[in-house]
Point group: D2
Chain length 261, copies 4
């Protein structure tokens, strides 16, 4: 049953438009097709059909991805194809302590805070105060903000004693923060660095090799969307060509480097 | 601290080999580099360095992906790139009720049971008794089997009253099970159908259109791995060219089809 | 030395714009940066720098690809990535007799007529008179029209006795023209069918199997462009996701089909 | 009509094997299916069916690609997908003067010598005498060796006065040969540099920018092969993940660099 406070996605019958909104007392959703009094949705069920002006529309429970695409963005978001891969390859699970720097739009912050569950924790560093404020709004919107500790500043100044199961690094110059990030990781903890350019990958991999990180992997994810037309099945004409390279590794104790400690 | 019963990954210092094992009383891991008495690991920490014969090796806490690749397989596994995307696009979260058919190797069963947390539930149908037995062994190994109800048989015979937040369909002929799958879904629930061939996508999309499914999306995920050599950075010479197409949709109430109910 | 009648590409110094033109007596090229009196280019050399308004610009000898992108299009062009692959996989060489249907924009017609050289020949069928007229204009512009015989009509009505070394089929319904196309091929001749959708590939491959075609191959070419910035090297953000599937095969004598002639 | 001296491809009826051979007097092709006396093929036509032991087989006229894959390789070949793209993007045409360094296996040498026709010319530099000898054998086999001038040595020592319409650079350290290559190009001539690694691209693009090269483009070609099964249409499970990046540019007169000559 839909209640006040719920997020909701209104999808037109032939899918020509989607509206992401919140069910707030007295609010009205204005669309090209007509206006929707949000109070009228309370007590209805997700999946039901309603009228929007002269058209049918459906009440959909938004997914995390719907939430991500509804965000007001101050900086580049992490794409869903990358969000999914990062969560799995960092092996995020209930109870984990996850650190990230920077917070950015808060997309990964939200994804992590959902995956660590009540017993887990997310600590998120961001140097830019303006980003941090918008990101906090976004995480409140996407959910589970109570599991997140936001820190305004550089991860290099981190004094916390609790070590991380996983570290996600997404900053303009990752090489400058790698040593701090690795020092916060538990042994056997996993790190992911988001590197939009090949140059950043080259620097990052070089430095990781000096910091006792093993099993360094570099991945790029391409998500190819198809036209869902069974009589003319084929890929979409245009696609996202590149978002980022993803560098992963595992921290271990005193790894022998090139034959020396 | 490593304890009896833990899964563990032993990784050689220069990453030339990995061994997935369990810390069992009195067991010995036999490798090309030497034997390892597993009792000797108890009380050590993950991330520590040990000696394996004449070599250094590291004690790594295995990820879900490490677990997946350690499985004895009776049938094709779902690849990590697809596991990750399915979890996010089906919006699996704590508390969800997830159905799947068939169980296959149990890889998605495990991934779902971890993501739904203690408050969620997974119901998994499998027609082939031999697959089901191996899959149960695999899920026990990967964890959280207590959240899974295994059913030997066809999902068409499902009599359960509890509806699904998400349905994952991975059977040889998906078109034959689509109606049953959709009927088990809650309104606003999400379905994913794994279709290795274009022909299966064409059939699946055609049928979904008659079953009140909207927002039908077809995706293919390509995960490109790079050589982590900063002086000679480039993609791997060979890659996985194709595993499967993924079809997604959302169930809604009485959708108007081609102008008729 | 640049002469009247030459095609020319004017490229701005920082590559912010390109102008494709012809050196005609008395003509003026009008651009955002200023006007260029084309007579002034006669006697200069390709590669030279000139002034265009307040800016430097270069006189470039256009490639076939520059020509293709300069065309007025009445229908979809074949992309360079596909043009290149088709020329090689059909093994087009000096002296070849190449048939195509339909002519479309004339892009492949021009590519073929250049590759077959003086001793070769191209026969191009097009049912739509309006397409044919524009295509002839395009081929005149791209060059070697003297090697092309244009035919207004359906390739099924072809009465010519000279058989083809290669046949290129690019029509809205390829399955309807396959038998005609194959009958025009020499034994050991090669055919390429352009199929934008998976459904067309499925039909085409099914029919080719009944027409004595062997070595059936289906390809899709992805051309990934990178930002040529050595400090921030990475793929372009957006790319062409799909143009067409390409089906290839070789005609042989009386192939045994499923154990029967 | 098949004659002595012809290259030929013998393809088994269900395409389970291909044999590339030459029709030589008195020679015998030995295969798993039986022996074939090559003299018996003289006077038959390409495309005909013959018996090979207990099986049917077809006499196919080999394409340039068949020739490439039949080569004895001393070093990495250029893949057909890249050969095709290079020929088109370098705009190779009848009458062109094409330089390359190094000769390698001779694959590009042959492709160029075919495309420049009788009126064109190829000059190929190779430092390693052992490569050069094998490459000459390969080009003789692939055809048109009479249009090629092979030079044993470094392209930096080139003293020829005739400038190149196109230059193809495929050497272990391209950055060391770029200046020589560019100096051999005509103004408005085109260069292609084969760079297997991102590091080579970064160096190459940096240097090209100092040598008066404009319109620098970097491409990567992915050729995706599909299973030609109309009932189970889908991409092949494994594919070539990477061969090389391709860098292209055009030489112009005294380009202004960063505001200076």
């Amino acid at each position: 049953m839909i209640q006040y406070g719920d997020s909701i996605l209104i999808m037109l019958e032939h899918e020509e438009a989607k509206y992401f909104s919140e069910v707030k007392r007295g609010s009205v959703l204005k669309t090209h097709y007509g206006n929707l009094i949000m109070d009228s949705l309370v007590g209805r069920e997700f999946g039901e059909k309603i009228r929007l002006g002269l058209r049918d529309a459906f009440l959909i429970k938004p997914s995390m991805i719907d939430g991500i695409f509804s965000l007001k963005r101050s900086t580049q978001i992490v794409y869903p194809k990358d969000v999914a891969f990062i969560l799995l390859y960092l092996d995020i699970k209930p109870g984990d302590v996850v650190y990230e720097a920077g917070t950015g739009t808060g997309v990964m912050t939200s994804a992590f805070s959902r995956a660590v569950c009540e017993s887990g924790k997310v600590v998120s560093y961001e140097k830019r105060q303006d980003f941090l404020e918008k990101a906090q709004k976004n995480v409140r919107h996407l959910g589970h903000i109570e599991r997140v500790t936001f820190v305004s500043g550089d991860v290099a100044e981190c004094k916390e004693s609790q070590k991380a199961d996983a570290f996600f690094l997404d900053v303009p110059e990752p090489s400058a923060s790698l040593e701090s990030a690795v020092s916060i990781l538990k042994k056997s903890g996993r790190i992911c660095i988001l590197c939009p350019t090949a140059n950043q990958v080259q620097e990052t991999v070089t430095i990781l090799g000096t910091l006792g990180i093993i099993d360094i992997q570099v991945w790029e994810i391409l998500a190819r969307s198809y036209k869902a037309n069974p009589e003319r099945f084929r890929p979409e004409d245009r696609m996202v060509g590149h978002t980022t390279y993803l560098v992963f590794g595992i921290k271990v104790e005193g790894r022998k480097l090139n034959g020396k400690e």
